[in-house]
Symmetry: C2
DNA sequence: AGCCGTACCTACTCGACAGTAAGTTTATTG
DNA sequence: CAATAAACTTACTGTCGAGTAGGTACGGCT
């Protein structure tokens, strides 16, 4: 229950709403990430933020509202961090590389964000799951566009339609692998972001290569039940 | 809050402990999977099982005990289902294929199991996370062994040591992709298990191919900060 | 100075839920 | 047909935590 704010001065300074809201969100992300949505208590959030409970209710609303605010803020931060590095105009593999690298570097610097965004946000049926799905959907679309445009430029461009479908599932698998790798990283922090990004690229780029060459793995002929 | 047990007969038959325990576990898996560990209430579990609360405490112990029992049972069922199909002695790609296929077929037939095993079990710091990590660790070891043995048999067998390391991270990415694909499937049930398994293989097998050929993707020379 | 709004607090209510005490009913076996 | 044990119940306790009522203190403005 680490204190996040409050100067050394005993005086609880009177701060403008904007600042307090930021502090409360910081504390909330930290607490939600540590215990999960249900196990987290508003009392602990308020204690961590160094402020009393009614302030939270006055500024950010109910516990659900607070959680939603956390997700929205962290999602924005993540998307901005990625967009800042994966500039369009680069070759496809470099675009993907810098995007992936930015992703892992952000997670590395903000593990709490990822925990809240991915682990906690997916555990609900309500509006949180929708918010969470948005992240995944955007990422998949982004990657799929990359894959398909790269495949279109290759010498086997006549595979068009099939590549489109395969490209989309490939993108889903890629994003999934990224999410799981990030999850795994939370429990195994000894690796570097760059390392993880390279591993991603090694798996992913191989799939891209086969897609561009039209190579597909096929299951063995039916011999099972 | 679907009733899981209880015959049409109004008489609440008196059943042996063994049977009740199974019914309670069934109900618990369903409830935990629906709401998550914290939001699930023992009252709902007992109602779903069609039995009164003290029976649960008498047979299975505390809420934590009950949850742990769920995880253990579902994990066993999953591992047995996979081991039943991925027989050693098959060629590596078929072993992997049948293993992956069995995995997705099990998940498809037991979505609640997967939810409890993967989503809920990972949200804790206690003994549950350890239990969950066991699943992942076993799966990674299994896949890594496959990859490395396959690479050893290829014409580039001299890449030995490097392949070992790359093979392990490849296995981690593969398992991660599988987990995420399964998670994604919970929210998008329109696909078939066979379809998902084929998608997995397409990504995975491409990575295998590159590994065997010693091809590695490398990041562009440093030009960023 | 005195007024007003906003930052901020202590101290409660009230409902939900884990866990239990203490009993009642049914099958079985000597 | 006892009598014993196991299956099963209702009806409670205690706690924890979301949300609030009803304030106090501090700064800006005229």
């Amino acid at each position: 229950m680490e204190l996040v704010n409050e100067e050394a001065s005993g005086r609880p300074k009177r701060l403008p709403r904007e600042v307090r809201e930021r502090q409360i969100l910081d504390a909330a992300v930290s607490v939600f990430s540590a215990h999960g949505y249900h196990a987290a208590s508003m009392d602990e959030v308020s204690a961590t933020a160094g402020i009393s409970k009614p302030m939270i209710y006055s500024y950010l609303g109910s516990k659900e509202d607070l959680f939603a605010a956390c997700i929205r803020r962290e999602l924005d931060r993540l998307l901005v961090a990625i967009a800042d590095r994966a500039k369009p105009g680069l070759p496809a593999d470099q675009q993907l590389w810098y995007g992936v690298l930015a992703f892992f570097e952000f997670i590395g610097a903000n593990k709490d964000s990822w925990s809240v965004l991915h682990r906690q946000a997916s555990e609900h049926g309500g509006p949180f799951a929708a918010e969470h799905r948005l992240l995944r959907t955007r990422a998949i679309e982004l990657v799929a566009a990359l894959v398909i445009s790269a495949a279109g430029r290759s010498e086997h461009s006549e595979i068009g339609a099939a590549a489109q479908r395969t490209g989309e599932s490939l993108a889903a698998a890629v994003v999934g692998a990224g999410e799981s790798l990030a999850d795994w990283w939370l429990d195994n922090p000894q690796e570097s972001a760059r390392h993880l990004a390279e591993r991603m690229m090694n798996v992913v780029w191989a799939g891209f290569g086969n897609l561009m060459d039209g190579k597909v793995w096929a299951p063995p002929p039916e011999a099972d039940e």
